[in-house]
Symmetry: C2
Subunit: 420 residues, 2 copies
């Protein structure tokens, strides 16, 4: 059986239906909807000839054993959780594609020499507990003990939530697979940016994933009655945050003229957040992303300077703690070459481009060779309800991924430990 | 029995104990804690010789009938709800003072000619449903039908909440008392500002209450992935709000050099508020307060100009709707004179000063003559846990209020409808 556009379309539609009807398309990690979607996926994996299981991090893994014992797995994967009000393709497209590749091999009766894994990684998007890429981080041994103790708004810890999802958080810490225990990791994802669509090409070969520095900011000013404290005696923490935000933006705009660089404040919490109370405290999360390590370092220095300046000007206390540093990750050159060859053989044009978004692939790169394929998405939009990609592009991507899997499975015969 | 400092102290301590233990001192209107505190107050009113009842707006009113039929009531009151993380004195000091005045008259066996009312107004602080001064607004016929349909975060309407508190929201609309049906309204309150403490005087005679214009702002930008949309292509609604906030602050600082004027953004809600999503929409509430009507008009014009400018600069949509306009309210000159005379006779120094905060007295002024007495509060701080006032100042205020009540009760003999 060839890769089937219609089957992929149907899988996507089914997964899209697991959404909060009030906020399409919302399927937050750890939610009841997410569990239902995973139950469906569990069944779909079985129908594709895969044996589903949950690993210690509650990653859902569909395994098809290989013909030869002792070979490392070939892995494809992505995630099916969404941000609030996100879309139908981010993550889900990669899972559906991986599933379709496995299914087409199964229906062909084609047994690989290596084990084949299709992975739905747990909680790739920022979870209600804080951390993102929870499952892949844990698989790579990068989920820290303190991450496990972080709580959602209801007070549940991430540790408890992973156990609730079927994981074994007490066994997390070391990588779940030893480095090198993976033959290859391949992931298809929507670009989430405008470049492929603008260039009119169906595929992108990802050169690397930007580094992400994440800062937790806290401004402590002076809470007071909104009617009785004169303007010039105020220490309004929200005004201080507004200045920080605009100054960081100015830095990011300048920097972006030299290298790919963005800075975003996406989360803000005002205390006490009453209309007639001067905000006494504000918390916020600020992100900086770049492919260039030096640009991120410069960003940190700029942020420190801005915080000091605003602190002095406004008489407030400003803290900025870096809570996360994901260094830029480069794709495996050999896998990139194989992807390019496969695309060329099929007469498909492609761009080489970096990923501005983080992916589970970042962590999988710590365990073995990693590469990613992008497909265009309309208007470059992602994390919004109208996020849209063409399933025909997904099918093209699936064919290229299958070509590369077969090539890897074949090539390794000559060098693999179980070879003749 | 004289006014008792110790009794007032005890009442305050008891009321302070009805607090969310995690966030002292929090007793939000309509909460279970609030209901418990009102149950205590109901009992305390009875012990002070008052007959408690709830009016249609669920204001808790303790009534002592007067000796002569047909006379309008003399009313003292305030409120016992707090903002989140507020203090022990805002509102509560006025209720405790009114209670003590009534109690001392009762224990003296002194029956006034007029009915005496002690009122705990429902929900003076901004309620979880939006509106503030809910009870006094309703008493003055100023609570609009659409206010009753506003909902808290759980989806309950204010109408339902008032009914839950024992009111009859279907009977709200017209004033609950006809204008002129009040002999006088007197309220003691902490200043919530620094002037009395700085001047070292125990009492303030309030000249008027500032007008409040409240605006609901909404910025609609473009939600997107925080990693993939280049800085210069973003329409970040939070950045736009930050500019609006800082420009409004600059206007308010300039204006405040001419007349008392403040502007505050105390409430902000970011959508979707995820750390890796560019905020697509932000809501906020902006307040402007002034004793000068013209300054508020100027503030509105300045805000419109700022919104247009930022809208154009950032390519976002900015809406600013005035949801509330409370005009400045002046105190009754005769009541102010009686308060000053009473203070002078007792050898107490005082300041005449405006109130920067809104009070239930604003609405009561629509029903009859109104005046207020302020007492100092430490550091001018209010709406914070460390809010503090001296109960001895409350006792001085109680004596002055009682003097004026007795004087009014006596004087009206000569002119009242039931006079000889």
């Amino acid at each position: 059986m060839p890769i089937s556009f219609e089957r992929m379309q149907k899988d996507l539609e089914i997964l899209s239906s697991f959404t909060d009807p009030e906020k399409p398309y919302t399927r937050r990690s750890f939610s009841p909807l997410y569990e239902k979607a995973r139950q469906w996926l569990w069944k779909a994996m079985k129908e594709a000839g895969l044996s589903p299981r949950l690993d210690e991090a509650a990653n859902l893994i569909g395994v098809r054993e290989g013909a030869e014992a002792g070979l490392p797995p070939l892995i494809m994967g992505s995630h099916i959780d969404t941000v609030e009000g996100g879309g139908r393709f981010d993550g889900t497209a990669g899972v559906v594609t991986a599933l379709e590749v496995a299914r087409s091999l199964f229906e062909d009766g084609h047994v690989l020499r290596h084990p084949l894994w299709v992975v739905d990684f747990l909680a790739e998007e920022p979870s209600p507990y804080g951390p993102s890429t929870v499952g892949s981080r844990a698989m790579a041994g990068r989920l820290r003990k303190e991450d496990l103790e972080r709580r959602n708004e209801e007070g549940e810890t991430l540790r408890e939530a992973i156990a609730r999802m079927g994981g074994k958080p007490q066994q997390l810490g070391e990588p779940l697979l030893p480095p090198g225990a993976i033959a290859a990791y391949l992931e298809l994802h929507i670009e989430q940016g405008p470049l492929l669509e603008r260039a009119g090409v169906p595929l992108g070969i990802v050169t690397g994933i930007v580094g992400i520095d994440r800062y937790r900011l806290e401004v402590r000013g002076e809470q007071g009655h909104a009617g009785t404290v004169p303007m010039k005696e105020r220490k309004d923490s929200l005004l201080a945050l507004a200045e920080v935000l605009l100054e960081v933006e100015a830095f990011a705009r300048r920097k972006a003229e030299e290298v790919p660089f963005v800075a975003t404040m996406g989360w803000v919490k005002v205390h006490p957040n009453h209309e007639n109370v001067i905000p006494g405290r504000v918390e916020a999360v600020l992100e900086m992303r770049s492919l260039a390590h030096e640009a991120l370092e410069e960003g940190e220095r700029a942020l420190r300077t801005i915080l000091e300046r605003v602190e002095e000007r406004r008489g407030v206390t400003l803290r900025g703690e870096r809570t996360d540093r994901l260094p830029p990750t480069l794709s495996d050159p050999r896998l990139m070459d194989l992807l390019k060859e496969a695309a060329e053989k099929r007469g498909l044009s492609f761009l080489e481009l970096p990923s501005g978004a983080g992916h589970d692939a970042m962590h999988m790169a710590a365990l073995g060779p990693m590469a990613m394929v992008f497909i265009p998405c309309r208007g470059g939009k992602s994390h919004v309800a109208e996020e849209w990609a063409d399933v025909r592009h997904m099918a093209l991507g699936a064919r290229v991924l299958r070509d590369v899997l077969l090539r890897l499975d074949h090539e390794d015969r000559r060098s693999g430990p179980a070879g003749p």
